[in-house]
């Protein structure tokens, strides 16, 4: 009794250090997930679908660049398809279960790597085409580019193996104990889809290696390749006397600037987070860092909506193809709609003449390959 009393006098003002619940980040995350990610998903879906459809229907002879652009569009499309599912699961404590957890996290990682490595390949391709123009016939063949794409995807999958393997669907130990001990009422289990390991060494290595690889292969390597290739391209273009020089320069600069603006902030945050991960931290500081990560990550995601504009729609050839698709669809629509609309007024002759007038470009190839 005495002991208890003593405690009461001296230690009643004990200061507790509560677990950090990242309240600011939770709010920001909810807003970003619901409104900005859905915006990115819709925009990215529309843009990249248009690219894929254009290539699927209208590209008979594909160049090396086309193969890369198509692969970037596929990677981006898979990414924006996974994004709403990830958001849905994060909001419903991963209600889609363990398989969805591994597939979605893995899918995200594969597409991240393949996307950024393909952008590096595109810069290398342009370097060969413009700077090493003499060798470009040998190096820029179609089978060659397909092999490179296969290598890129394989590499991306290999780099994502730790993600596939270590992301697990589980109830965290400390949340599980909460349910049993705290309030007798049974709460629905709160699952997460996060890393889980079997021993401390593997945990430490993976928690450091995965973000480090992402920084190295997913940012610095493409940045290095792009910087080198596009600098050489710019130098060569400066020497050339071509009337399209300025446009090409602007495109190159836009590509590099957008890449850096989208990916640099997130990667700096990721680097800072990785370096300080295992140290004791104040909740407020860590919460602020998480907010920073959420915001900069969204900026990085935005890149996959900009890819179609920066790489595909900027090209004159691609725009011509696209215009033809729209034109043909327009004609197709008319073919089915106009007979109904004008059926009372005129006969088949009217429809057929109209088609031959409006859609005359269907047979003639009005663009150059």
């Amino acid at each position: 009794m005495d002991l208890c009393f003593m405690y009461n006098l001296t230690d009643l003002d004990y200061d507790i250090v509560e677990p950090c619940s990242f309240q600011n980040n939770n709010q920001v995350e909810r807003f970003v997930w619901l409104y900005i990610h859905s915006f990115i998903a819709i925009l990215g879906f529309v843009g990249n679908s248009l690219v894929i459809v254009t290539y699927a229907f209208y590209k008979r002879t594909k160049s090396m660049t086309d193969v890369y652009l198509l692969n970037v569009a596929v990677a981006d499309l898979l990414f924006v398809a996974a994004l709403p599912l990830i958001v849905y699961n994060e909001l419903t404590s991963w209600s889609m279960g363990p398989v969805a957890c591994k597939v979605l996290r893995g899918c995200y990682s594969v597409n991240l790597y393949s996307d950024l490595l393909l952008l590096a390949c595109i810069s290398a391709d342009r370097y060969v085409a413009i700077v090493q123009a003499r060798r470009s016939f040998r190096l820029r063949s179609l089978p060659y580019s397909r092999v490179i794409c296969v290598i890129v995807w394989t590499f991306a999958i290999l780099l994502s193996v730790p993600t596939f393997y270590f992301y697990s669907w589980y109830e965290p130990l400390h949340a599980r104990d909460d349910v049993h001990q705290w309030n007798g009422t049974s709460r629905s289990p709160q699952y997460v889809c996060e890393f889980r390991f079997y021993n401390d060494t593997v945990a430490w290595i993976t928690k450091v290696t995965v973000p480090s690889t992402q920084l190295a292969v997913g940012f610095f390597l493409p940045l290095l390749v792009m910087t080198f290739c596009y600098t050489a391209v710019i130098v060569t273009l400066q020497r050339a006397r071509n009337f399209q020089r300025h446009k090409a320069l602007r495109v190159v600069l836009a590509v590099v600037v957008v890449f850096v603006l989208c990916h640099l902030p997130y990667n700096i945050t990721l680097l800072y987070h990785t370096v300080n991960m295992f140290e004791q931290q104040e909740c407020e500081a860590s919460d602020a860092l998480q907010v920073g990560k959420t915001v900069t990550q969204t900026l990085a995601y935005l890149h996959c909506c900009l890819d179609p504009v920066l790489y595909a729609f900027v090209g004159v050839k691609f725009r011509n193809h696209f215009r033809r698709i729209v034109q043909d669809l327009w004609c197709l629509g008319k073919r089915y709609i106009s007979p109904r609309r004008f059926s009372r007024v005129t006969s088949e002759v009217y429809v057929s003449t109209r088609r031959s007038v409006d859609c005359s470009s269907e047979n003639g190839s009005s663009f150059t390959m």
Binding site: C4, Y7, D11, L12, Y14, D15, I16, V17, E18, P19, C20, S21, F22, N26, R30, W33, L34, Y35, S38, F39, A41, I42, V46, P84, V87, Y88, L91, T92, S93, Y170, E171, P172, L173, H174, A175, R176, D177, D178, Q181, W182, S188, Q190, Y191, V192, E194, F195, R196, F197, Y198, N199, D200, A203, K207, M277, F278, Q280, Q281, E282, C283, S286
Partner: protein, 108 residues
């Protein structure tokens, strides 16, 4: 027009999801640092374990006190001593319950 409609629909659906799943984010909690002073034992109601092999960055014993949860360092002797005391307490209750099995206590 179609894309605007689709956007509005998706946002509405997602917002509905948000309303439906207004859960407490307790599972997202992590201890990031430890309390410095020793805790008086009598304020502790229970404990839980945070394992760094899971989502959180450090190991911790989370004591549930009258004021709320508090993070402590499992490397410290007093922390593990408290955990053992709590275990012993639980064990005693368990044994008592077993020895009383079949008597009038179990009828409830």
């Amino acid at each position: 027009m179609v894309s605007v409609k689709a956007a509005v629909m998706v946002i509405t659906v997602l917002t509905l999801c948000l309303w439906v799943t207004r859960t407490s984010a307790a599972h997202r909690e992590c201890c990031l640092r430890y309390m410095k002073k020793k805790l008086p034992f009598f304020v502790i109601k229970g404990y839980s374990v945070q394992d760094k092999r899971e989502m959180c960055p450090i190991n911790a014993i989370i004591f549930h006190t009258r004021k709320g949860k508090t993070c402590t360092d499992p490397k410290l002797n007093w922390v593990m001593h408290y955990v053992n005391l709590l275990r012993n307490k639980a064990q005693i209750v368990h044994t008592e319950a077993q020895s009383n099995n079949g008597s009038f206590f179990s009828s409830s």
